[in-house]
Symmetry: C2
Subunit: 138 residues, 2 copies
């Protein structure tokens, strides 16, 4: 019923031991259809209130950062109040709803291809990301 084998493999392959805590975190983060955007504090809240699992805050910090280092998560900076992590590690664009502070993924074809006309000598483009702030109309 709880099939952790995918996550166990994912962790093993990347050189991380599949511990009870890491598997719980994997299930929460990666066992879903849509992208999940979260802060570490929200993660802690979910484990405490919704799932009633006690994983120490230190472990949440450690795990999220090692997942980021392994490329399972991406960090997104959209404002100074909050640091978001994103289960969608591809290059992609976002809506940020400024009324709710919610991040929403944009699909490739939701945005026309961005063309940058300026080049800096000795530099090359690494990534291009668009942040579209939205707010309640009317």
């Amino acid at each position: 019923m709880d099939d952790n084998s995918i996550f166990i493999e994912k962790l093993r392959v990347s050189g991380l031991r599949p511990t009870k805590q890491r598997l719980e975190i994997c299930k929460l983060l990666f066992d879903r259809k849509k992208t999940f955007h979260f802060s570490i504090n929200e993660l802690a809240e979910i484990f405490k209130k919704e799932r009633k699992k006690k994983i120490s805050l230190a472990t949440l910090y450690n795990t999220v950062h090692s997942f980021k280092k392994k490329g399972f998560l991406k960090e997104i900076s959209v404002n100074s109040e909050k640091s978001y992590f994103d289960t969608n590690t591809s290059n992609h664009h976002h809506f940020l709803d400024v009324n709710t502070n919610e991040l929403i993924d944009l699909k490739k074809d939701d945005v026309d291809k961005i063309r940058i006309k300026k080049i800096l000598p000795g530099k090359k483009i690494k990534s291009i990301e668009v942040l579209v702030k939205i707010e309640n109309s009317n």
Copy 2:
């Protein structure tokens, strides 16, 4: 020789008293041709090391935040390590040089107009900003 009258007026109009400290900060921030991107800590360093003026850190925080509230500065979030303020308060795009952590403004015509095809019901677009990460080529 140091013509503060513009800044005195700017501050008065916005309801801020033109104090010695605020005028020093204005001169540093706004008396330049190119956009200036900075962190509050960098600002403190400049006053201490380059200009030999002692403005307390509390005043720097207060002033930068009130300038932001008055619309003289804009806060830019590009990574979790550092919070940048920007003397260019218009909607504009940036290069971020990941090797130096330097922000560089893109002009309107450096980037083709962005077209967002997705709409969320009850929401409208407030701003669109592109972050182009660049790195050393070769």
